[in-house]
Amino acid sequence: MRAVGIILAGGHNNKMRELSNKRAIAAMPIAGSFRAIDFALSNMTNSHIQKVAVITQYNSKSLNEHLNSSKWWDFGRKQGGLFVFTPTITPENSYWYRGTADSMYQNISFLKNSHEPYVVIASGDCVYKLDYNKVLEYHIDKKADITVVCSKVPKGEEPNRFGILNKDEDNRILSIDEKPIEAYGELISTGVYIIRRRLLIELLRKANEEERYDFVKDILVRHSQVKQIYAYEIDTYWSNIATAEAYYKTNMDFLKKEIRDYFFHEYPDIYSKIDDYPPAKYNQGAAVRNSLISSGCIINGTIENSILFKKVYVGNNCTIKNSIILNDVYIGDNTYIENCIVESRDTIRANTTHIGEDGEVRIVVEKNDRYLI
């Protein structure tokens, strides 16, 4: 492959509500056994990009732990590898990353020491499959300076939390409205860009000189007139999980057969770190319908239209409906949970009820003492 990869995984977001207290958005668990960043990482390795930098800053512990071996995504070391960049103090600089462009600029030696001509930039909080080689071919074909991968606004999503693209017939981007108050247009940026490595280095350096730190606002938008920026549109599944509602919806999408088949059974695979949990166990009294159950779960109650992440214990006579239970949750007997996201490592007291009402998803964070099982 003729590109290196950069995954921007530093972000956090109030729209994730309580869920982002514990981890970077890129570390959010998805579909029972994955984390959000697995999708970008797997796309990289499946596109034969062998050298990838993950840039992280906010609450990065859980992400660093997830990335502690490059083995799971089949990256090597000698001819590339997986690099995780966190902030550091140098004689020249003692700032945290001040934005996406700054986070790349502070690690510009990664770009300088590479010899691949192109860079694929992706964000770590989107769920999709994409062969970046196809985008690169298009990029070269169009003689573009920057190619932005874009998608129609997913159903049920507000377009105005995205960058809205306006393009001409040749797919050249005419303007970009970043998170506009009112959105004109339905084509949004997926946060995936292809750019020539030397051009990126130059743009980052210039932005830094001008004390501008954001890649979209300060580089992409500002250059939309001067540079040849092209749009590459995808029509396959794409979803950004950076609000609690989008996170819930994206997970629930995996209860649809066509989505499951697309991600779980069609080539290429999505890789993830392997945990060492035993298979799921269904005891007497378990009744499960239309649900995803992960390894390590022990189930004694009723589960409907829900997703149980790894190592969830469901007590006797419980009912869980339309909910997402993150990993390592203990649910005591006679509990009723509906329309909820239960935060990982929670312990839910027996005989309690948790319902997200009025179509709103409720986030349950309960750190009670756990009974030993």
Partner: protein, 424 residues
């Protein structure tokens, strides 16, 4: 300078012929167990959990599945720069080249491997049992007794002791006598086939016995050392220990995992059993599914009904199918409306829709009654069973069978249907 206090040598060469068609293509330690594991995962995980990071796995019979499973040892944290897991098959030498002829002979042929790590102690293990054991505790016992050899032993019911090799010890647990399957046992401490040797003693005795044909630890090495006066001790282990050497014991120990509070708890946090998993996605349980008492692996899709069964990873059980008291291994597909009753289905089996397995009365198997018994249906890996056939009890099926292979669509109880295919 490389120096490891204790290394382990794991004997994984045996076919395990009493598992019938389950081991026609792979060695017994590679047989799956408990939904996602293989038998060898248990001694390997015990090693790393006991702090042993250097393990030689001696293979001989059909090692490919084992090699693929173990790989470079990543799942067990045995991918090490110094040590880790090494597969040790027989090899050609400049003078004589021979296969391994016995357990001790296999170890003897790998003397150089052991010497490289310069160990003080060597742990000899088999790959035939399901158990969790802290070998470090056994080593402490070995050291405390300044033993030359320590045997792991387990107390068995006195009335069953005559089926085992038992040891008679003094009050300090030093072994005075061995008895192999004694008619009137004088002790109920059975040897588990697990030994710690002080390296110097092992090396000397293997060299002394290098001309012994089929040199075996139980038959030759231990008696030899005992007779010449080495200090041989019995370490007593009191946990779960299950031989899975017959189809009956294999089936039984799988079923035990389903109990509400299993005797052998895989869900325990502090002594994890590691295995290689290719399958990452969660399992999907459809609206139409019924599951009552089961263990189910990753990536499995269940549309039918499952009762009291162990289901592996990546299995599909279609709508209307009913699986009861059975073990279904990795990647097997059970067609719509099929009925599986007290059966063991190996990896990659396809059962056609409406087929019925394990029906009728129990009749002893005609060709191998000592293997195919317990009322089980045993199906070899990659077997295809056509739709709508009926299969009795104490039966064995292997190969890509079609309807014509079943007279009147029936394989009666006690029959075997082994169809050799063009499989590479």
């Amino acid at each position: 300078m490389i120096k490891k206090e204790m290394i382990a040598m794991l004997l994984a060469g045996g076919q395990g012929s009493r598992l019938g068609v389950l081991t026609s293509n792979l060695a017994k330690p590679a047989v799956t167990f408990g939904g996602k594991y293989r038998i060898i995962d248990f001694p390997l995980s015990n090693c790393i959990n006991s702090g042993i990071d250097t393990v030689g796995v001696l293979t001989q019979y059909q090692p490919l599945r084992l090699n693929t499973h173990i790989g470079i040892g990543i799942p067990w944290d045995l991918d090490r720069n110094i040590g880790g897991v090494s597969i040790l098959p027989p090899y050609e030498k400049s003078q004589n080249s021979e296969w391994y002829t016995g357990t001790a002979n296999a170890i003897y042929q790998n003397m150089k491997y052991m010497e490289y790590y310069n160990p003080e102690y060597v742990l000899i293990l088999g790959g035939d049992h399901i158990y969790k054991m802290d070998y470090e505790a056994m080593l402490d016992f070995h050291k405390a007794n300044q033993a030359d050899i320590t045997l792991a032993t387990i107390p068995v019911p006195m009335e069953e002791a005559s089926r085992f090799g038992v040891v008679i010890t003094d009050s300090n647990k030093q072994i005075l006598e061995f008895e192999e399957k004694p008619e009137v046992p004088r002790s109920n401490l059975a040897s588990m086939g697990i030994y710690i040797f002080t390296w110097k003693v092992l090396k000397e005795s293997l060299i002394a016995l290098s001309e012994q044909k089929g040199c075996d630890f139980g038959k030759h090495v231990i008696p030899f050392c005992h007779e010449r006066g080495d200090r041989v001790f019995a370490y007593e282990y009191n946990g779960y220990w299950k031989d899975v050497g017959t189809l009956g014991s294999y089936w039984e120990s799988n079923m035990e995992l389903i109990d509400l509070v299993p005797i052998f708890n895989l869900y325990e946090e502090f002594w994890k059993i590691y295995t290689k998993t290719d399958t990452i996605p969660p399992q999907y349980i459809a609206d139409s599914a019924v599951i009552d008492r089961a263990i189910i692996g990753e990536g499995t899709n269940i549309y039918g009904e499952v009762y009291n069964s162990v289901i592996g990873t990546g299995v599909t059980i279609e709508t209307g199918a009913v699986v009861r008291d059975s073990i279904i291994m990795k990647g097997t597909v059970i067609g719509e409306g099929a009925l599986i009753n007290k059966a063991i289905l190996a990896e990659g089996v396809t059962v056609g829709s409406g087929a019925q397995l394990g029906i009728g009365e129990e009749i002893p198997n005609k060709t191998a009654p000592h293997i195919y018994s317990f009322g089980l249906v045993t199906v070899a890996e990659d077997t295809i069973i056509p739709s709508d056939v009926k299969i009795g009890k104490n039966t064995a099926i292997a190969g890509q069978t079609d309807f014509a292979d079943y007279a009147d669509g029936i394989l009666p109880s006690g029959e075997s249907l082994i169809k050799a295919g063009d499989r590479l």
